[in-house]
Amino acid sequence: MPDVALDRTSTAADFDEFVHGRGRALLRFAYVLSGDAHLAEDLVQEVLARLHRRWGRITAMQHPEAYVRAAIVRQFLSWRRRRASTEAILPEVPEPAGLDEPQQRVLARDQMWRLLGGLPRAQRAVLVLRFYCDLPDDEIAALLGRAESTVRSQASRALARMRTMMVEEGMIGDG
């Protein structure tokens, strides 16, 4: 007969160790996901606080950090949904620039970051999971609870939108 309580008595130390070891990485993830430092802190704190009391079960999983990241994504999407009426509009049109010079590449990255802020939340989440976490589309689909085809179409639409703006402003070539 499994002794559930026995497994849970050491979870406090495990939880502390996880937060110490992976807290910074989670904040980085939440920040690229949300684009807002305060929101990133809020997302990570909220998710960890809610998972705190069930940490014993989460550490029994093969990839507890993946579970926490998935919870952060869900929290982010939920947060944005509740605040849809105040969702960000597209940022200012980026300044024209080429990418040949290092400083222009830095500028382009900054412009790209600003463009990301104007994407719908689901599209942004897909791009972050694909290009920051390097997840394949099937894992992104599983994490978001959507069909793989939906993930692909969201990524495609987001990239097309960004590509159009970047080409129009001369940030990248149109080939």
Binding site: A5, V32, H52, R53, D110, L159, I172
Partner: protein, 319 residues
């Protein structure tokens, strides 16, 4: 990856370096967790004792009962020992064990994930909303539960039976385990935490209703050993009678591959009365390990025949 993709990846990684510091994160998280707990306790004090998310009428309607299905829970290895055949025979097909109860559907709990370990049937109702719900594990066994953790234990009436409530006072949440004899040869254990009040925990137990939820195996089996009841089914393991075990493990090199099973290289080893067949399932990056313990006998041909009938499913997870 084209120029835009690279630029996007660069932009994200560059931005990550500007993420806020994690200084003080643990303390803030702990405080927020405590705050939720306090807020919840206050809310619970103002609300009638209802199982969270479970309509009162359901609790009443499903109240104390003894009408649970009476199929025997999977036999334990000890129980099955007396029926041990001298030589194992294979029969076609595999019958999945069935978890015999469920909780009413609730917005904050997932449908149960079922498994079986050492003859005990287990259902996990995972909480998807953690402010008002907590994970609930229901275990059905043939014997009275034995515990190795010190806990406060109090008698309590559950579903019309004399049961017990164990409380382990640990952080971040007190653990409650309610257990009671449901019928002759059947004990039920319900474990959760103090997200619920004791009254709600008893209400959850009362809300258990008869069901028939098959325990999903990690692979389909064309053949099974005759006369050996299944006693363990997890996402990596199916075990019969305690020592006829099929386990999907993370891939490891075969010591001495000397045959093939279904086109995969395999190694068959006899040692101290045990027989172990390891199959290198390359396309799953796993090793399928089939072990027949000492005291059981099976021909090599039958063991290979059994192995050829094991079909790994996507839901499997190598241990």
């Amino acid at each position: 990856m084209d120029e835009l993709d690279r630029l996007l990846a660069d932009a994200l990684h560059d931005a990550a370096s500007r993420a806020p510091s994690d200084a003080g994160l643990l303390g803030t998280v702990r405080e927020r967790s405590r705050r939720y707990r306090r807020r919840q306790a206050a809310a619970l004090g103002a609300v009638a004792v209802l199982a969270a998310g479970i309509p009162f009428v359901v609790v009443l309607a499903a109240g104390p009962r003894s009408s649970a299905p009476l199929e025997p829970v999977g036999s334990s290895p000890v129980a099955s020992a007396s029926a041990r055949p001298a030589s194992l025979q294979l029969v076609a097909g595999y019958t999945a064990p069935v978890f015999p109860y469920t909780l009413p559907a609730s917005a904050g709990l997932k449908a149960p994930a079922t498994s079986m370990r050492d003859g005990n049937l287990i259902a996990l109702f995972e909480a998807t909303e953690q402010k008002h719900h907590a994970d609930i594990t229901v275990t059905v066994s043939t014997r009275k539960p034995a515990f190795s953790t010190a806990a406060a234990e109090t008698p309590i009436r559950v579903r019309g039976h004399a049961g017990f409530l164990r409380t382990v006072d640990v952080q971040p949440a007190r653990q409650y385990t309610l257990y009671w004899p449901e019928s002759a040869g059947r004990w039920i254990q319900l474990a959760t935490d103090d997200t619920y009040t004791i009254g709600q925990v008893v209400g959850l137990a009362a809300a258990l209703s008869p069901a028939s939820i098959a325990v999903p195996p990690p692979f389909t089996l064309d053949l099974a050993p005759a006369g050996l009841p299944v006693d363990t089914v997890t996402d990596s393991t199916v075990s019969f009678g305690g020592d006829f075990r099929t386990v999907l493990r993370k891939r490891r090199p075969l010591s001495n591959p000397d045959r093939t099973v279904g086109g995969y290289r395999a190694s068959l080893v006899h040692s101290s009365g045990r027989v172990t067949l390891d199959v290198d399932v390359t396309d799953w990056n796993a090793t399928l390990e089939i072990t027949v313990g000492a005291g059981r006998t099976i021909t090599d041909a039958d063991l290979l025949r059994y192995a050829a009938g094991v079909h790994i499913l996507n839901r499997s997870n190598p241990s």
